[in-house]
Symmetry: C2
Subunit: 277 residues, 2 copies
């Protein structure tokens, strides 16, 4: 594994790392913030999954999350949103292919070769982080934004033994019924919609649920509300008896200015949930 | 004036505005954060001047300054670092021309036509902001990073009646003696070094000083220390009797991760100084 950069930040270290991934068969880049408390021992860790078109870098430089993470002693991991490179399949659309994995393991040509981000984020990367850095793999949470909120919800509901705390910002919660989802599931998973349920939060919360509180923030001035469908998830949680706090934040949109405004609350949520593990 | 974007952020508004500038003879773009307190009346304002290669955008999205500004009721202005456009002189070097004004009024060909950032930042933009937005022009401070720290120091020492509070991150303080300065002063002001003194903080602090405390943070692992010369400014302040707090921050470099780590202290410094006006 290569350390591409290492900047002191709020008394801790903001790293960017690159490593060959067995899941994707490509080199993968991620950001890792280690709070000052990591110098004294293993700290809990929160994975932040980014949205369409983002790399590992956007949230790392735009959310301001390191301040609160340094204060309360959380490590933060910022994975990339897909495999990348000349040999990796892509599409001209901004919302398919590189930068747009939807955090699943593709089964269809040409995506199946490298697009295995579900395995990468749920299994390979947590194992790597736990082995290489002073983080406590038993106290691990996940959050994300938009497509990354979808990734956080679906991965945590599949692996609650690994991800003990869960939150999301403006997540895509009902991709089977959304223009942010249907095209992508057809491309990555095929046309058989019965295979989509495993990656649709509105279905997963009924089929599996999450054994803890879920915190979701959603701007009510979000320009993509029709794609995100927060009401569908509220209904599904109510019907499934899932404990969820879905906060509709008045006047906020889909931007990083929205995420920055509420990231502290999410990190506090994760810290509290992980402290109880 | 056009509002290019308007995002809710920490209960306030993060605007990006564009207007025709009489100083530069071009359209100029700036970011403006209005804290929630601005809905009830005029608030104090801090100008943040960015460094080489930056636009209005970098500090606006990378420093995380809005959180503290919203808490304590400060407006923030993020000007661009130079005039821009096809009709504006430029240079192939990253540190001369567009994105690299050094915040002075150029007198030399071809720069003199548009490169009048001293007049723009010191006079035109404060007047515009005061006329168009709920900010209190009598409570106005300035800070900046690197070339922008140079801008903050030099502009405030020339206009202490307008900029009542002053701080800087890793400023270029002795440009007459630095590779970040000499080339640029020759290009913009000409070879007569006697004309450079008005834009050299180590000279200005002896000739004029600033009637208040100056706060400076400087990373001791900054890769550009040889260009920045903080020790020269410490000596000049000591000799001139200038009140300054120059904090050498161990392990920090020249990046936005450094600025983000200490921006809250700077905003608190400005709020305290401006509250005493």
């Amino acid at each position: 594994m290569d350390i591409l950069s290492d900047n002191k930040c709020f008394g801790g270290r903001q790293l960017v790392c690159r490593h060959p991934s067995t899941s994707t068969g490509t080199d993968m880049t991620f950001g890792l913030f280690l709070p000052p408390q990591a110098e004294a021992g293993a700290v809990p860790v929160v994975f932040y999954l980014s949205g369409l078109t983002c790399t590992h870098e956007n949230a790392m430089v735009k959310t301001g999350a390191q301040r609160k993470a340094a204060e309360i002693g959380l490590a933060l991991v910022f994975p990339d949103t897909s495999p990348r490179g000349d040999g990796v399949a892509d599409d001209a659309a901004y919302d398919l292919g590189q930068g747009a994995s939807f955090y699943l393991d593709a089964t269809q040509t040409p995506w199946a070769t490298h697009f295995r981000m579900f395995s990468y984020v749920a299994e390979e990367l947590p194992a790597l982080i736990g082995a290489e850095f002073p983080v406590d793999g038993a106290r691990c949470g996940v959050t994300g934004h938009s497509m990354g909120g979808h990734g956080a919800l679906t991965i945590a509901m599949h692996h609650p033994e690994r991800f003990r705390s869960l939150s999301a910002f403006s997540p895509i919660v009902h991709p089977s019924a959304s223009d942010w989802g249907r095209k992508h599931f057809i491309a990555y998973l095929g046309a058989d919609e019965s295979l989509w349920a495993a990656h649709d939060s509105c279905r997963l919360v009924r089929d599996r649920g999450f054994p803890g509180k879920i915190l979701i923030d959603q701007g009510d001035a979000d320009q993509f509300l029709d794609y995100l469908k927060p009401d569908d998830f509220a209904t599904a949680c109510a019907e499934a008896g899932q404990e969820v706090t879905l906060r509709m934040q008045p006047g906020y949109d889909h931007s990083y200015f929205f995420i920055a405004s509420f990231i502290d609350d999410h990190l506090e949520h994760h810290a509290a949930q992980l402290a109880a593990v």
